[in-house]
Symmetry: C2
């Protein structure tokens, strides 16, 4: 087995999920994630954790959802009991076909998801972490050779997370102390308020309120956006390819939108509910181990030299205790490349220009 798979497992179990002896760990295994699952099982054994592995293959979900034409039971007791009693859920993506469930009607997915809200909340209240084992299907989605893609994934995952966390803490301080953010780049000129909001130093560990491996972004929950923004990084929204999205905000809401490709996906998003037209997230990619777009949000949104915004639901971790932010059934991330002719300002001061942060060498204020 590739030694990097063992290293990946160690980062996941120790740095990301902070597993300790006696922890009840659900390991969710996708069809092609077997090798990583074996390496993680070994680490869980070493740590003295308890293990239940679930099998979460897209083809199983597809077959089940398409065949089930009755009402879904709300939060089946046996599934709820598993997650309510679990300390951590480690999800290992590893599909053999990124469009394995493409022909499941959206309505069916929605009904299933709605019926299992309690199960989802139980999962999210554990120390959950999502990661990905490189497969040929992901390589294909990225337009890369398989070995090339493996190198890409391990460069992103096997980092010195402690020192990246220290670096990201600087950005977090700037956002925590700031009141207004302005993003200027290409067709983009957008201002938004962040007053009273707390940024998350997303350092790929539950200890940082961060649940993705890799991570490497600092994000907060902005509000009252005004202006225009263009997202020039190709992406997939609700299984549809979308390119060059342009949004116009007035009085904090999307009042106009367009896309060169996939505008109908945006129609669906903005029709969901009122919250879908407001901002849920401003994220600043800081993982320089990710050096290209691979049409996978787990990686793309953490890439250095990018900024992303999400319309829809805001994360509680960014809000004052007990306060709730923008609410919506959707959370759709869209990314913009800020490597050239771009600047990010906080309270009128430039904190990132052409991808370089104020606290980095080569910054030109």
């Amino acid at each position: 087995m590739d030694e990097r798979i063992h290293e990946h497992a160690e980062v996941l179990v120790d740095w990301s999920a902070r597993i300790e002896a006696g922890d009840d760990v659900v390991l969710s295994v996708d069809e092609g994630a077997h090798d990583l699952a074996v390496a993680v099982a070994e680490k869980l054994g070493e740590r003295g954790a308890n293990l239940v592995a679930t099998y979460d293959a897209g083809e199983l979900r597809r077959a089940y959802l398409r065949a089930h034409d009755d009402e879904f039971e709300v939060d089946p007791e046996f599934e709820l009991a598993l997650y309510e009693n679990a300390d951590a859920v480690l999800s290992l993506g590893g599909t053999r076909n990124t469009t394995a469930a493409a022909d499941v009607p959206g309505e069916r997915r929605q009904e299933y998801s709605t019926a299992r809200q309690g199960v989802r909340e139980a999962r999210l209240s554990t120390d959950w972490v999502s990661t990905l084992h490189p497969t040929r299907a992901y390589a294909q989605q990225a337009g890369m050779a398989y070995e090339e893609y493996q190198d890409f994934v391990y460069d992103a995952v096997l980092r010195d997370w402690g020192s990246l966390a220290d670096e990201m803490a600087k950005m977090k301080s700037i956002l925590d102390e700031g009141s207004e953010v302005r993003l200027v780049s290409g067709g983009t000129d957008l201002t938004m308020s962040i007053e009273g909001r707390t940024a998350v130093n997303s350092a790929a560990s539950v200890a940082y309120d961060s649940h993705n491996l890799p991570s490497g972004e600092v994000f907060t929950a902005p509000y009252d956006p005004e202006g225009e923004v263009v997202f020039d990084v190709p992406m997939t929204i609700q299984d549809r390819r979308v390119r060059n999205v342009r949004l116009t905000f007035e009085d904090g809401e999307v009042v106009d939108y367009s896309a060169e490709t996939g505008e109908d996906a945006l129609d669906d998003v903005f029709e969901t509910d009122a919250g879908a037209r407001r901002l849920g997230e401003l994220g600043i990619g800081m993982n320089r181990g990710i050096d290209r777009f691979t049409d996978n949000i787990l990686f793309d949104e953490k890439m250095g030299d990018t900024v992303h915004l999400a319309v829809g639901r805001a994360y509680d971790a960014c809000l004052p205790e007990g306060e709730s932010g923008n609410d919506s059934a959707v959370h759709v991330d869209m990314i913009t490349d800020v490597s050239e002719e771009s600047r990010l300002e906080v309270d009128g001061e430039v904190v990132q220009r052409n991808g370089t942060f104020r606290f980095e060498d080569g910054f030109e204020g």
Copy 2:
């Protein structure tokens, strides 16, 4: 997908496990059982059952057990809660290496198994069914080509179970009404009591107290054996190959034993506890869809023209309500070929001669 996989799934869900709308079903999926798992997920969706799939690959268990060098927690709450709330557990064997866990020390397995007795009991108190998806590894163990093995499996599984159940009911009546069984064949001449015991018509359905697919045997819990028995069908006991076992019973207990190959496996069995030296089961194979030995007990013991005995634990289903039979930590099946120069007598009357039953054409009393 091979149409027989869908038929297999249908037999499993409808005939074997009797799944109904709203049932909470745990689907245990081995590494190579993906295709059958997809077909079963579809059937579960059609029936309106709820589904949690677990991943039970030998390589995961091996990695976990070898790495875990501390005491195992007794019945971890999250795992117990899953099975205590489940209505059915469908186990799909499908290994890619029948010796995937060969280097796990026996002591480690034993400790793990002992610590999870409550979990095991919770699983066994559901409507559980074990079956197998044909893989190249099983084909290799059987010494067969892959396609040849697939045909073998589906011939054994895709039967008219209702009519086989009717046929087996005749054998069950004979055993239920009988007091003493005598088996004569080659070096075998063994008598045993079955007075007061109830035979199980094992027709591959929970409706018949039968939990294997395929099944096709009638079994009971004999006691007070006297005489000699030779088991001439090759088998694997505790991961070791064993051939031509000979047992001598006096006053109901094994007083002498030998084997041409693997006698040390028998040493381990008989040293386990006192119950290991007494009989736990007499089974009569009646599935004529199984026409050869494949070194897999799921199939071998159900083959027509065979009789098997197990030393160790007896099944409660064969005993009067509230009474317990032979108790032991082991239950080891051993098979003898009765196709030639053999007879099975119940209370002095021949009920099977050279493989042919009294109620079949061609029987020669």
